[in-house]
């Protein structure tokens, strides 16, 4: 009797990514009622696509974040923001408008991100520094290195092909960035759901000791996860500069916490072992929608911050709860 009861309850429980998408839909429809919102289908689609494009950057930075958070043991990557800036700056300065340099520079960007991720992973696993502190200080180091190397002066140009693919529409009304995002989303979902890496990642997220005892090489897995996260963050910087057409040493900082919150809103458990990239996508769309909505309403910056914070609290209260002690 009791058993069937809990089973029916479970059936009706909506999954967090679905809830997030539902919230996103409602918010988007509501934005149509704003005085300077959309009036017809064409402008609605255009606006929707624009929001998706902006959300894609949060979601791609959030991809690495999702992996790190699933890996558990308070895993988090706070160096992602400054890595985005580094990726963007390297791309901006080195490519300097030259189409032929795109691939080598892309490799360099990914390797740079990977190396920083490697340092994060090594520090966390071998020096036993907590992920929060390790990646936070790494963010400072990266930021400091950027300031020292550029000395506040940087000049460059984004290659034309990048602009074509990322910033312009590839098909009518659909920006190229959306396709990049779909590819990354598919790869991430494949990585998490269908590969040995994904299985082991969830295993170490639930319990590192049992994972180790069942033959998972935990240290290698964790370090690898931080390497991937670093590479993804730098890659996101590469993409971002293709959209903004301009880089700066602080470009990525504003994306750090949105990427973490996107993961949380998407139902990935902050304590690890449970989550999906689909959720992060949904979370990123919700965050970008709220931000765009507040911008369209032309509220003062202060009110925007207050409303953004309160909405986040509200959303998280609705379904971001961890298991309570009594359960």
């Amino acid at each position: 009797m009791n058993d069937t009861n809990t089973q029916t309850k479970k059936k009706f429980r909506v999954s967090p990514p679905a809830t997030a998408l539902l919230i996103a839909m409602v918010l988007f429809l509501l934005s149509g009622f704003l005085p300077n919102g959309f009036n017809d289908w064409a402008s609605a689609i255009r606006q929707g696509m624009n929001i998706l494009r902006l959300a894609s950057f949060i979601a791609i930075i959030g991809a690495g974040q999702t992996l790190v958070i699933i890996s558990g043991s308070e895993g988090i990557d706070l160096s992602a923001g400054s890595l985005v800036s580094v990726g963007a700056l390297i791309t901006y300065i080195l490519i300097n408008g030259n189409n032929n340099l795109i691939l080598p520079v892309l490799m360099l960007v990914i390797i740079t991100g990977g190396i920083v991720g490697l340092l994060n992973g090594l520090g966390i696993m071998y020096l036993k520094i907590s992920p929060f502190v390790m990646t936070l200080s790494m963010a400072g180091v990266v930021q400091g290195a950027v300031i020292l190397l550029t000395k506040g002066y940087y000049d460059g140009k984004v290659a034309d092909i990048m602009t074509q693919i990322i910033a312009r529409d590839l098909l009518p009304d659909i920006p190229g960035m959306i396709f990049v995002w779909i590819i990354i989303g598919a790869l991430m979902t494949f990585l998490l759901e269908r590969t040995k890496y994904g299985k082991q990642l969830f295993a170490i997220g639930v319990n590192r000791m049992t994972a180790r005892l069942s033959g998972v090489r935990v240290t290698r897995m964790v370090v690898l996860t931080y390497v991937i996260a670093g590479a993804l963050a730098a890659f996101a910087g590469f993409l971002l500069v293709g959209y903004t057409q301009n880089a700066g040493p602080n470009l990525g900082n504003q994306y750090l916490f949105p990427s973490i919150i996107a993961v949380a809103i998407g139902g990935t458990q902050m304590s690890g072992g449970k989550g999906s990239y689909f959720g992060t996508i949904a979370g990123a769309i919700v965050i970008q929608l709220i931000t765009s909505l507040l911008t369209t309403m032309q509220l003062p910056q202060a009110l925007q911050q207050i409303i953004f914070g309160s909405m986040l609290l509200g959303i998280l209260v609705v379904y971001g709860r961890d298991k309570s002690l009594r359960a």
Binding site: E74, I76, G123, Y126, L127, K128, I129, S130, F132, V133, M134, L136, S137, M138, G140, V141, Q143, G144, A145, I147, L148, K151, G152, F257, I260, I261, A264, M270, S271, P300, Q301, A302, L303, Q304, Q305, I306, I307, F308, G309, S310, L312, L313, L316, V317, G320, R321, D322, K323, S324, L325
Partner: protein, 333 residues
Amino acid sequence: MPERNKSKIAQWWRNLNVRHSLGLSLILLVLTTVLYFILQPNIARSGTITRLLTSNFRTWLPVILVTIGQAIVILGGGLDLSNGSIVSVGNVILALTVTTTDEPGKNMLMVLVVIAFGLVAGLLNGFFTAYLGLQPVIITFASSFVYSGLALLLLPSPGGDIPREYTSVYRSTQVLGIPLALIVIVLAILIWSFFRQRKYGRFLFAVGGNDKAAYTTGVPVTWMKISTYVISGLLASLAAISYTLLTGSGLSSSGNDMTLASITGSVLGGISMSGGAGSVIGAVFGGIILGNIRNIISTLKLDSWWRTLVNALLIVLVLAGPGLINLIRGKKK
């Protein structure tokens, strides 16, 4: 699993390390302080040390106070990313309202308002994280948006003018040659050691160490966790008061840097990020170490482009220290 430390170090030293996890931060404290004093040109002249103590501690007090609050939250197994923005709100409120010495009653009231705000903000953080069981990192970050938005709303551009009479009291009061700020810190440590010996302290460490075990043994886990956020909010409001008295003006982003400083300070002070290990004295040490590092960098007259990197590298080195030592020791065995 961390290797059991079996080397032959003196008993008191082990005690300091294991029971209070203060060993490393004590070394750092002495090292950075000595280095700082060596770099001072007029150190031999009489009165220099007192002057330095006064000027340094009054500058460090806000950060040290938020670091103590952060340390207590971390000890209880949480994290407070909103304490800096609580400082901003307090600073803004005081800068807007305390403008003359004519109405001491009203000024006192505003100080109480700031403290009340800190308590309420901390209570909200505690309610969301401990009572509703939400993740501290994201919740306190979200609430920091609300608080810093509030600060920006109240004071869109820097301003405010605290009467000189008040600021000079904070800046130059000394009792028996001990600066006021140092007295406040010592008081905070004394209050902490009072509670540390009693039920509250034991409960706090139990909750931080393993909240499920604490819950099953009858510790009011939720209330303990909420209380840590309230204490952090209270200390943030006190930091706001001292910061306002230090600078004499208001800035809506005044506390922004303090959040991260409070976390690094806690870690430098030997507080374990996973909770349940550390002490408030460590947090004070951590705050002083941070201040020393900043002072050393500025007395070295480094090229300003180097500053961020050197600061960050020093902190990484300091954090890596104990791990490296353990790693090398482990290899030798």
